[in-house]
Every structure is written in C-alpha cells, then in structure tokens.
Amino acid sequence: MDTATRLDLYRMMVLIRTFEEAILREYHADKKPVFDIGAGAIPGEMHLSAGQEPVAAGVCAQLTSADAVTATHRPHHFAIAHGVDLHRMTAEIFGRVDGLGKGRGGHMHLFDPDVHFSCSGIIAEGYPPALGQALAFQRRGTDGVAVAVTGEGAANQGAFHESLNLAALWKLPVVFVVEDNEWGISVPRSASTCITSNADRAAAYGMPGRRVEDNSVEGVHQAAAEAVARARTGEGPSLLEVHTLRLWGHFEGDPQAYRHDLDGVPGRDPLPTYEQELRSAGVLDEAAVTSAAADASERVEDAIAFARRSPAPAPKEAADLVFA
C-alpha cells in the first residue's frame, strides 16, 4: 500500500478517536458527581466507536460523497469517515438548532443527504433502506454504491437476511459490512451466533463473503476495495465482516461488569498498533504523529465550539417538521 494512503488511513483513525474522546469528555463533564443519563449538554444514550476506527476508515476510503452509507446506533466513525459535516453532526449530538436534524434526531439519528449518510438505532434495520438507495443509483444509471453497516449481533435478525437475499436477487450495488466487536451489549458472540464467521452466511445468498481479522485497517481497505469495485461495476453485493474491538462500554455508563476480557483490551487498541506499524515502516515520524493529532484536535474542538455556540431549539417548535 502506498505511503499516502497509509497516512490518510492513520489520520482518519486519529480524527475519529479524537472526536470520540472529546465527546466522551463533554458527555461526562456535567454528569458528575452523580451520573444521570438525561442530564448535561449531551443527554441520552451515547454509543462511542473507539476501537472500531479501522472499519470506517478502511471502508470509506473506497467511497465518494456520491455513495451512501447507512450506519448503526454507533455511527460516529462512519459519519466522520464518510465526510458528514463535522460541525453540524456535533451540533446534532448537542441537540442544537444547527445540528443535522435541528435537535430532533440525536446521536443515533444523523442524516446528511449531501453525502447520502443516514443511521438507524434499530439493530439490522438500517440494511433495508440501503437497498433502496442502491436501487435508486442502479435505476438512474450512476455507479453509486450503498454501504450498509451493522454489528455482529444484527446478523441474527430477519432484516439482515431479507436484505442479503433481495440485494443478491436484484444484483444491487451494496456492500454489507458487519462490525464484529464480539459483544451485543453484554452477550458475547459465542452466546448469540452459531458460526464463527458471518462472512460464511454470504454463501447462502450467492454473494462473496469475507472476514478481516485483527482489526486491520489495511485489511479492511483491501477487502472493501474488492467489494466496492464489484458493486460499482454492476456485479452485485458482497458481505464483509471485520473482527474489530469495542474499546469502551456499549454505552457510556455501562459498567461492563460482564466483560471478562477487559484486561486484554488496551493491548488490542488498533490506533497505537497501527501507529507503531507505520513508524516501523518509516511512514510515520514524530512530526507526522504530532501534526495528525494537532489537526484532528483543531477540527474537533472547532466543531464542539460551533455546537456549543448554536442555540437550543425552541420548545414551542417541538411539533414542527413532522411533515414536509
């Protein structure tokens, strides 16, 4: 892989991590000393994607803003990697009028039509709308691709299987991505899924399936290149599972008492791992690391300042925007 691409992947992972760390900070800042999920500048459930950066960075590097992404309840990494407006996304997380949804959506419901980005908080149910976006691209003769993302827990839902069948049947330009972070909230994969690789399920629908191990951003990048190319050239959908890592809790406030693998988690963090790999390969030096961190921090803090400046929506307008 060429140096520029590797640097881009690294810098994207740094940007995502910087964003998630900043949201973590802002989320908890005014929930002390007693944690109240509904309190503070960022209220509500907060599912952060730290550890899963390689999936979004690797996949979205193969996309343009004309392609669609439907993400999950844990959407920030894909939103950032797909180029969702960072200011307006952050403002939405803060529930402000300048947010993508003018404060109506929240962090699980980010919609940016400029880059065909959406997400769904319902497990596996973001897959079907991606089919329709792909269908629209196909009908209109564009070479647009729809990427549909779920976690491994979603692969046991009906919507997952219905979507794979229909996409294969109609040869839709879809790339199905499964983020296997090993945990469906507190239930380990071993207690939810009867096979070791969801990529094997692709065979049941006559499409290629591939599993990328080790949370490797370059592995994802390469596998996604093949899947996206296949979709773009009209050959139909593919399924790509990535063995990734949920670095933090299911949501903020999750004590993770159920999680017996916690001791090993820091050592599996993909960001220092990739940084070390690139340093060893002579791609990264101290200056590049510092500059990536500084650039990311500047963008993220700027977005947070934008969000904080944006007014809260007027309560009297709560019933607006139900209908067009």
Partner: protein, 345 residues
Amino acid sequence: MSLTDASAPTTTRRLSTSKAMVEAIAAEMDRDQDVFVMGEDVGAYGGIFSSTTGLLDRFGPQRVVDTPISETAFIGAAIGAAVEGMRPIAELMFADFFGVCMDQIYNHMAKIHYESGGNVRVPIVLTTAVGGGYSDGAQHSQCLWGTFAHLPGMKVVVPSNPADAKGLMTSAIRDDNPVVYMFHKGIMGLPWMAKNPRSVGPVPEEDYEVPIGKAAIARPGTDVTVATLSLSVHHALDVADELAGDDIDCEVVDLRSLVPLDTDTILESVGRTGRLLVVDEDYRSFGVSGEIIARVAERDPGLLTAPPVRVAVPDVPIPYARGLEDAVLPTADRIRSAVFGVMGR
C-alpha cells in the same frame, strides 16, 4: 383540478375503485419517471385485490416490480429509494401483515423526515388492503387504520369510492410525505367478492387531486352526524336512505383521510345536527371512534344534545364463521340501531 366534494364528478364514465386507483397510478407513472410500483404479486397477477392490474404490461418489470415475500426488505428498499428522490409505491398485501415490517414503516418511513430536521423527505405511498366481511379470519380481515394514524409521521388516506380513490392516489403520489393508502377490499369492485353497488361509480378521465385532509359530506342531513370512512360510508348511506322514510335525516361524513383528520368538517356537521354517531370497522378501544368523540368534546361538548354513540368492532379478533363475523362488523343493522339510539327512539 381538485375535488373537494363527493358530488363533484360530473362524468358519466363509470369505473370500479380498483380501476380508478390503477388509472391514477398509471397517469403518475407516465408523468414522472421516478414513480414505480413494488410489492408481492403486483406484476403478472396485478395485485391480489386488483390494485395494479395492467401496469406490468404497460410499464414493464423495471417499474412494476414483483418482490419476494420479504416485506421488511422491500418496504425498507422503497424507503431508501424515496430518500434518494424516487417516488415508490410499495404494497403491503394486507394491512394485517404489518407486524413483519412495522419497524421499517414506523421507525424509518415515518420518522426520517423529523429526525433529519426536515432535511430528508420520504415521498413513498404504502398501499395496503384492509377490512373483512368475507370470512378471511383474524389475520386477514383487520382495518388497523387507527394503529397507523396513531403513529406520527405518516399521512393516512382511506378512500370510500372510485372518484376519491383516483384523486387521493394522485395526491398521495405527489405528496412529499409518506402516505399510507388503505383500500377496503369490499369497495374495490372485485368480481370474486360481494360487490357494494357503489364500488363502481363515476370517475373523471382527466387528472385531478382529492386533497388529503378534507372530509366530504357524502349525504347532507339535519338530525344526526354519522362520521365514518371507507366501506362503512356505504352502509351508513344505505341506512340513511332507509331512515329518511322514518323522518330521520342523517348527515354522512366521509372522513377520506385520518391523518390529517378534517376536524372542522366534523365539528361543523355536529354543530348543525347536535348528534354524533361514529361508525368504524377498526377496533373500538383507543381508536378512531374515541378520537373523533374526543375532538368534539375538546372543542365544544355543548355541540352535543345527546351522548355520542359509536359502532365499531368490539375488542375481539375478527371471527371466521359468517354469523360471528357479521356480529362484530359495523353492519347496517348495528348502524340503524345506533341511529335510533342517538335519536332517543
């Protein structure tokens, strides 16, 4: 052109409700390349209840798409296509099947516009067959429009006759919002089901819209307002004709849409008659009949000179045996008794 009154069609051409629906879909497909139809058996079969007859021959399989029995996938796909600016018409064969795909309908189709702060529109028409009266049992006979109308974000239209079926379909397709278009099997004019005489009626040939959210006075009257919808409009009209001989003058209000609900027309009617009977083929509790009575009570309970009355399906699943089903449906007999009741006779 817009039809706001039930009496507006001046044409002598008569169509069944199903043919009127199809005519509207075909005209919009001609007008707008982004309009297409998808669903189970909408192609060669032409829709189990003739809602898409002839469209495959005319527009081909790219625009009239038979789907697998996979409602979550294809209704979700329609939603995604609508998000990208297409205007799909997706058919849920029976409203009773909503359970297998309600997440796409309620959590996605109905909410995306709001969640996106109005930045994403979902111009989809979800057509679905409703209603009983032919012994199809508890899983194939429900109306369920109260359930859909309860959930914010979807318009809900319920035509009762061919002219409205065409005009409401045209409006639904042109609407930038999700519209659930619920057609009663008993008004489609199907040759294989007892046919209501008014399931064939005058339909103008030209394109026109029936505005969504405007009820019609199907029959003017002075003594009692019968607010109703879909097939029950016809039972109410039959009873009204009959009771005219008993010096009871019923005003029949055809709601035509539940979301938005034309509260003003109901209130004006009740203001004239002082009495209200709601006839609804959906379940009695927590539904359309209670909502309409509540709206009158909220605005001005003094409009009513007698307690309001409702005829709906008692809170039981729709039974199979003919006698049992007839006992729970809002039949002419039940409506007649209710009118006498509200008139104090």
